[in-house]
Amino acid sequence: MIRINCPYCGERDHSEFSYGGDATINYPSLDASEKEWTEAIFFRKNIKGFQFETWHHSNGCRMWLVVERSTVTHEIKSVKPCHPDLQKVVKNNK
């Protein structure tokens, strides 16, 4: 079991969460070329090692999180709220 330290709820089993995907995708502007959109939607780095990824606390607070996790050992380095403004709120509340 992977344990994810949700910034809102505390440390929980990963079975409470659902995996999103790559958290580093930057979607291009609406008038960008098809090639850029194809790259953003379909192509992935698929990192073997530490990566930033999204998880949804779907059976908890239902907030989206950015998790830095190794795809080899499953070790987690950091867990943050997805939204940058919420990151500030969580930080200020601590």
Binding site: M1, I2, D13, H14, S15, S18, Y19, G21, E34, K35, T38, E39, I41, F42, F43, R44, K45, N46, K48, Q51, E53, W55, T71, V72, T73, H74
Partner: protein, 421 residues
């Protein structure tokens, strides 16, 4: 290499089994080859075999970082079927099934292919309509497919849970020519047959880098020295992205996920078919091996991973699905379970295609379905490498299909790799 036939079995039986020769050589790497296939799994070995057999290209090496049969070739549930409906896929998998039907004779190696029928249960009128559509499409293309009503199903498999009121069994979609095979035997059979035709199988030979010249890959750095190849093929599903980035080719429409499978203790004959159960978020497939073990599996672990070990929530999910459909398994003990790393693609279909490097060819993205595909995968990958243009069946199984909008998405699940189960 001693041929397997009745005469040799009797002769060796009388001589204390002392005249068998080793199954394949253990050669030192040559400095260069016409074709180097990276990945000594089922797909790489089959490719090498068909390059030599169909295209007379025999100066071929297969590089395997571990040992033959030690990767995903030994991490599957050995199911063989061809119940696909998308253009390209159904022809390809049907050809694969036809190759399976003659594979033991072709390789002079008993792959224990058993056409015991693939029985996919349905539990609602909607599911019946949906699967009828797919199986009708299969029939129109000459693949065998039929529907079993509840009466037939009860007669064939009496001990399913027919009293599940939440998901009552209404019948099953059946492919009778489908079944399973002995996974190790397929790897060993292809390795032995390819070796006999002159292919060098280089085990413990891990690729560590590539040297580029004029845009091509000139040589491959490996743990057993530098090897040159005029043409190079990747057949390393699970780790494709790692090699792809080693060749500095950027991103791929692939994520690596792990899929678990389970083997129980051996019991007396209990199940004659491959049974698939998939409703309400569960996904479960089961068959009985010739030794008597129940071999079964379920969904991915739902998060990206290169670790070849499974996590416990999925063990629980699979056990729950087993109990829902096969209550008689309740007290059976698990012998072992394992996880294999899958190339999960953005549309659930594979790649057999050229790449931005002109002497590099790609075989990847097998999702859940690599085992059954291996004969045809080798066949068409060898064809691509030899003729330098894709066969009609695999003409859209390339990396450009996403930009062109011709995704081959059997499930209609969209660009989320983990959903293409």
């Amino acid at each position: 290499m001693t041929k397997f036939n009745a005469w040799n079995v009797i002769k060796n039986g009388l001589n204390g089994q002392s005249y068998w020769t080793r199954q394949w050589r253990d050669p030192e790497p040559k400095s260069s080859y016409d074709v180097v296939i990276i990945g000594g799994g089922l797909h790489g070995l089959a490719t090498a075999y068909y390059l030599a057999k169909n295209h007379n290209i025999k100066n071929v090496a297969v590089l395997e970082k571990g040992w033959i049969g030690g990767g995903n070739a030994g991490r599957n549930t050995t199911i063989v079927r061809s119940n696909y409906m998308m253009p390209g896929n159904h022809e390809f998998y049907e050809h694969s099934l036809k190759l399976w039907e003659n594979l033991s004779h072709e390789l002079n190696y008993n792959v224990m292919f058993s056409q015991r029928a693939h029985v996919s249960l349905f539990h609602s009128p909607g599911a019946k309509d949906s699967v009828s559509r797919i199986y009708n499409i299969m029939r129109l293309h000459g693949t065998d497919a039929e529907l079993w009503d509840l009466k037939t199903l009860k007669k064939k498999i009496p001990h399913l849970n027919y009293h599940n009121s939440r998901f009552p069994i209404l019948g099953a979609a059946v492919q009778k020519r489908a079944g399973n095979a002995r996974h190790d035997a397929v790897a060993w059979g292809y390795a032995r047959a390819a070796d006999t035709l002159g292919v060098d199988i280089l085990q413990n030979c891990e690729v560590t880098g590539f040297t580029r010249k004029n845009g091509n890959i000139e040589s491959i750095q490996t743990s057993r020295g530098i090897i040159k190849g005029k043409k190079i093929g990747f057949a390393v599903a699970g780790n494709t992205s790692v090699l792809w980035q080693m060749a500095e080719l950027g991103n791929l429409p692939i994520e690596s996920h792990k899929l678990q499978a389970f083997v129980s203790e051996a019991v007396k004959p209990l199940l004659d078919q491959v049974v698939v159960y998939g409703v309400g978020g569960a996904h479960f497939y089961i068959s009985q091996s010739d030794k008597g073990s129940m071999v079964f599996g379920g969904d991915l672990d739902w998060y990206k991973s290169f670790a070849q070990r499974g996590n416990l929530p999925m063990v629980q999910d699979v056990a729950e699905a087993a109990m829902a459909i096969f209550p008689s398994l309740g007290r059976i003990r698990l012998l072992r379970h394992w996880a294999g790393v899958m190339d999960m693609t953005m549309d659930g279909s594979f790649f057999i295609c050229k790449t931005p490097i002109s002497n590099l060819y790609l075989n990847a993205g097998w999702n859940y379905g690599g085992f059954k595909a291996s004969p045809a995968s080798g066949w068409y990958f060898a064809d691509l490498i030899a003729n330098e243009s894709p066969h009609n069946y695999v003409q859209n199984h390339n990396l450009e299909r996403f930009e062109k909008g011709i995704n081959i998405d059997e499930r209609g699940a969209g660009p989320d790799p983990k959903l293409h189960g």
